[in-house]
């Protein structure tokens, strides 16, 4: 019986860590005698699978194209300095705190990271957040951490971004940074990125001193974008008891006046779609008092909805532009 796949790949890892000079495939199969198939194509296939597996779990395999006698051949090795987790000595209380932290979110990757740091995961936490995960997030974070530019497709266009930071707000992740083509700071919703995010280690940048993603991001979706008619704030009357919920949400500074429990708020309405959606979420407990064009906007929307056919029909795919960041 031949070696098991686990045994073979562990031996390959050992060999590539041990070697001082990069090894070609021929040399690898010679050293790991009896581990790999003899026939060249089968050998190449088995080796490529093992190499892909090692890279997949994060092993940094370096390649080098040789010259001289072996011109054109590729050779492989693993740099131990890059392989090992170093420079991270956590004290017991720090490791424990991190363990508690990992228990407050749901993530398998967090658990594997903790194992490497010598911790395990506590069974439960009294506070838990379901944080939306996205494959692009680790790549964006790593690029931001090492100050590498990233490229990705967004709304059908290729973008190049210097990722200054990531922001989680109201359940959505945003990547914020300097957009090369627009030559300004832009915000992108991570879940709207189309396809892969590619990091470019050869293109580096400096993050502006003291940059804060919170300051770069509008505090309220209802402030995003521009309105056609120039109205920036609307007066909205809210009946009790919902008025108290809205007061807690918008803050007392937004209260224009109140009368017998009915509270009138000044609400940003620059982003008309976000504003309308917010007001309609309050149902019949809320009414837009003005300005007139904002009220007229809402009435027009309601009339169009009231006129919709009451049986299944095709919704229009070209409806209003979506609310959200750029």
């Amino acid at each position: 019986m031949g070696p098991s796949p686990l045994e073979r790949v562990t031996n390959l890892l050992t060999l590539l860590l041990e070697t001082r000079v990069p090894l070609t495939l021929k040399q690898v199969s010679h050293e790991l005698v009896g581990m790999y198939p003899d026939k060249h194509v089968a050998l190449r296939g088995a080796f490529e699978r093992d190499k892909a597996l090692l890279r997949d779990i994060g092993v940094p395999i370096e390649t080098e194209v040789l010259g001289g006698d072996q011109a054109g051949e590729t050779a492989y090795r693993i740099d131990r300095d890059r392989y090992e987790l170093r420079g991270l000595q956590l004290d017991d209380d720090e490791r424990h705190a991190l363990q508690m932290a990992v228990a407050t979110i749901r993530s398998d990757a967090g658990q594997e990271g903790l194992w490497k740091l010598g911790g395990s995961v506590l069974a439960s936490s009294s506070v838990v957040t379901n944080v939306v995960q996205h494959v692009a997030l680790p790549i964006l974070r790593a690029a931001s951490g090492s100050r590498n530019a990233v490229t990705f497709r967004y709304r059908g266009t290729e973008r190049e971004l210097h990722p200054y930071g990531l922001l989680l707000r109201e359940g959505f992740w945003y990547a914020i940074g300097h957009d090369r083509d627009h030559a300004e700071v832009r915000t992108y919703r991570v879940d709207r990125i189309e396809g892969d995010v590619v990091s470019h280690p050869n293109k580096t940048f400096e993050r502006p001193e003291g940059f804060d993603v919170r300051a770069a991001f509008p505090a309220d979706a209802k402030l995003l974008g521009e309105s056609d008619d120039g109205a920036g704030t609307a007066e909205v009357a809210v009946d009790p008891p919902l008025a108290e919920v809205v007061r807690a949400e918008l803050g007392t500074a937004s209260v224009a006046r109140e009368d017998a429990g009915v509270v009138v708020f000044d609400v940003p309405c620059v982003n008309r779609d976000a504003f309308r959606s917010w007001v309609l979420g309050l149902g019949a407990r809320a009414e837009v008092l003005g300005p007139p064009q904002v009220r007229a906007d809402l009435v027009a929307w309601l009339r169009s909805v009231a006129a919709l056919p009451g049986h299944p029909a095709d919704p229009q795919a070209d409806a209003a532009p979506e609310a959200g960041a750029s």
């Binding site: 932290a101 990992v102 979110i105 967090g110 909805v305």
Partner: protein, 317 residues
């Protein structure tokens, strides 16, 4: 992480590369402890360790993993120097650890300069500072409810029901606080229904501890899309949603989503309906971006709701 059936080669290798350094540091450890810690069955653990012990080839014979499992179920091991330190953190691991740490730091009661902050500073020194911010804007009562969970303290609340907008006074025992899609909820024993209920914290107008305490008990906090299903059986609505209405899928837990067969980018979405009042609001907000496919009695609900809102609030316009 619970695995059914044999683990894949990738999982086994990754696990082996964290078990070996851990074991190398101790020299020996009981199989039971390792199984618990690394969430692996004893059978798989022993098989993987034995495989590791077979590794090594000339001229590396002296680098063999030297393993002996004694009768008391304790593994003794001598690990080659390659495997005495764990593999560097991958990008997903680094992201998850930093995210979890920043998340916990943003929770009520976190110490801004305690051990967690120090651990994060050390992680950032290795992984690079990334400007990541988690904005967990919490409603006012969140901190009090979190504190109540730890002592199983009874709390009286004024709650604006999400389905009827009526205020009710209730006595609850908070069991867990969680957030989902940016909203905060408290899972609690509810005296009115005598059942476990989930309350939106932003709709709790006032809360006060009564001074009484219940027995503490562990609850399972529902994750992701499943938590809505934990509420008492609710009706389901099937919507066809145009691309501009996708936010509804991102904002509310759904039972299922698929592409519409026309291939025009619209979705067919099944959602749990908390109440008809809630569905009316969602449909008015979606407008022409949504069509109710089923059940029949809700096909014109959005149109009716819009007409009623016009009559109630904007009749003179």
């Amino acid at each position: 992480m619970t695995q059914k059936g044999p683990s894949s080669l990738k999982v086994r290798l990754r696990r082996l590369l964290v078990i070996l350094p851990w074991l190398a540091e101790r020299g020996s450890a009981s199989l039971a402890e390792m199984c618990e810690r690394f969430q692996i069955s004893e059978k798989e653990l022993v098989a993987d360790l034995e495989q590791a012990a077979m590794c090594g080839l000339p001229p590396f014979l002296d680098e063999l993993v030297d393993l002996y499992i004694d009768d008391d179920g304790v593994a003794h091991i001598d690990v080659p120097r390659f495997f005495t330190r764990p593999l560097r953190l991958t990008a997903p691991e680094g992201f998850s650890l930093l995210m979890a740490g920043r998340h916990a730091l943003a929770l009520p009661g976190a110490e801004a300069d305690g051990p967690l902050a120090r651990a994060l500073a050390k992680l950032e020194a290795v992984l690079g500072s990334d400007g990541m911010v988690l904005d967990l804007a919490q409603p006012a009562s969140t901190a009090e409810l979190v504190a109540a969970v730890t002592t199983a303290a009874e709390v009286s609340i004024s709650y604006v029901s999400a389905s009827s907008d009526e205020v009710s006074e209730r006595i609850i025992v908070p069991r867990a606080v969680f957030s989902d899609r940016g909203r905060w909820y408290v899972l609690a024993d509810d005296d009115r229904s005598g059942e476990e209920r989930t309350f939106r914290i932003d709709r709790i107008l006032a809360c006060q501890t009564t001074g009484r305490h219940a027995q503490t008990r562990e609850v399972r906090v529902p994750s992701g899309d499943e938590w809505f299903d934990d509420l008492p059986a609710m009706a389901t609505v099937t919507l066809r949603v145009a691309p501009a209405g996708r936010w509804v899928v991102e904002r509310f837990p759904v039972r299922s989503v698929r592409d519409h067969e026309s291939g025009d980018g619209s979705l067919v979405v099944e959602m749990a309906v908390v109440s008809e009042g809630w569905l009316r609001q969602v449909l008015v907000r979606l407008g022409r971006d949504a069509t109710v496919l089923a059940p029949d009695e809700w096909c014109d609900l959005g149109a009716r709701a819009a007409a009623e809102l016009l009559a109630a609030r904007y009749a003179a316009d």
